[in-house]
Assembly symmetry: C2
Homo-oligomer: 243 residues x 2
């Protein structure tokens, strides 16, 4: 499995992904789940993937190959808006589906893949979309300013409690790291290193892209301080009156 | 869905279950998931259920009918230890499986059901077991002193951080309520009222059995204070150094 989370804020976008892939618990590897398509001054797109690695890699490869192909109708570097960019991703998913889905089904495997695509193209506002295995998609709004894919449940409560559209980029990134820490602690299939990307509205270039390893001082501090703070908060909460 | 959690502590056992059942989001009802089999001075057994309601109700009914049936070989009131009690539950699951599984499968439904059984019989130590749809079971240990069934992921991180075998009954119950609150906030299929039961080691009677409704003052306080404490802890955590 994997865990990716992205938040759409007034200030911009925050993306965080883990890098663990497993085909059974005895077959664990490290693969990056985040791809960046950036042309500074024109557009920034960040794509995160979860699901069957052969499928998601094939989709990302197709998208990258299209960038350089003469005569490609619409690519992540040429589309005029984020909806069309999501359609590019959807078309790539459908191309992989057409090639592989029948064989996968024959062998008893689902065609499982999900994608988060966020960014800004030219004068458009920053947008965040979740693209399904069928190639269709939904878009984040002010009411639901974040999306998660993969092992999302462990890390959902803290995001539900903290993230609002007016949350700052810093706070949303801090919250994403706590959400990731909760997930890593409770689920073996999600693990370091992490990829963090932060995009500030209208800048048309990434403000930060950082790989976070086990020896990262800030993430180590988040992990230990958050645990301690939770235990203190727990202790401070009044006891049950009934026992 | 549903959410049930039970913890096995040096001081005894804590059980908490929600009461929401849904067959689709447009068909939500309230059914209790906790059954108590108690003969003060002799034994206390608490059974919690998750999965297909028709299956789990049929299992609990069988177990209750057996209690009064002349000639029933082994019932939850007569077994000499918790392993045999878990086998009673397993036998009841298998009886329901034998009757219903083929038809369910024909209609495209899984035989989904899981059970937590905890308590103490006579001189035995308190024990906690998780029983699967196949009727087999596993037992909680000092290394893994809690079990969850149903929508367990949202509420797992806080339990992983707090609960140890030497946690007090009060603290384990408080932690279970926080875990339940996190689950209820993030998942519509888990809801009030809750059933809380607390058993103190060697007492051979329940110390507390309480239904917790939306107007319960302590649970309301837990919900609001915990949210506030988390937000404070979040604010106190140092900011990202990279932005």
């Amino acid at each position: 499995m994997t865990y990716c989370v992205a938040t759409l804020l007034d200030e911009g976008l925050v993306f965080l992904s883990d890098s663990r892939t497993n085909a059974g618990v005895d077959n664990i590897s490290t693969f990056r789940k985040m791809s960046v398509f950036e042309r500074p001054g024109d557009r920034v797109l960040v794509l995160m993937t979860a699901g069957n690695l052969a499928i998601t890699q094939a989709v990302v490869s197709l998208l990258r190959e299209d960038l350089g192909r003469a005569g490609a109708e619409s690519t992540l570097y040429t589309t005029g808006n984020m909806s069309d960019a999501a359609r590019c991703v959807g078309d790539a998913i459908r191309a992989v589906h057409k090639r592989d889905a029948a064989t996968l089904k024959e062998l008893g495997h689902d065609f499982s893949a999900s994608f988060l695509l966020g960014g800004q193209i030219g004068d458009e506002v920053p947008r965040l979309l979740q693209i399904y295995a069928a190639g269709n998609f939904i878009e984040a709004t002010r009411e639901t300013p974040y999306f998660q894919i993969g092992e999302f449940k462990y890390g959902k409560p803290i995001i539900d409690r903290i993230v609002r559209p007016d949350t700052s980029l810093r706070d949303a990134a801090k919250c994403a790291l706590i959400s990731m820490d909760s997930t890593i602690r409770s689920n073996l299939s999600v693990g370091l290193p992490l990829d963090l990307a932060i995009y500030r509205r209208s800048s048309l270039k990434l403000e930060l892209r950082r790989q976070i390893n086990a020896d990262d001082e800030y993430f180590q501090m988040v992990r230990s301080s958050w645990s301690l703070a939770l235990r203190h908060a727990f202790t401070d909460l009044p006891d049950l009156p009934w026992v």
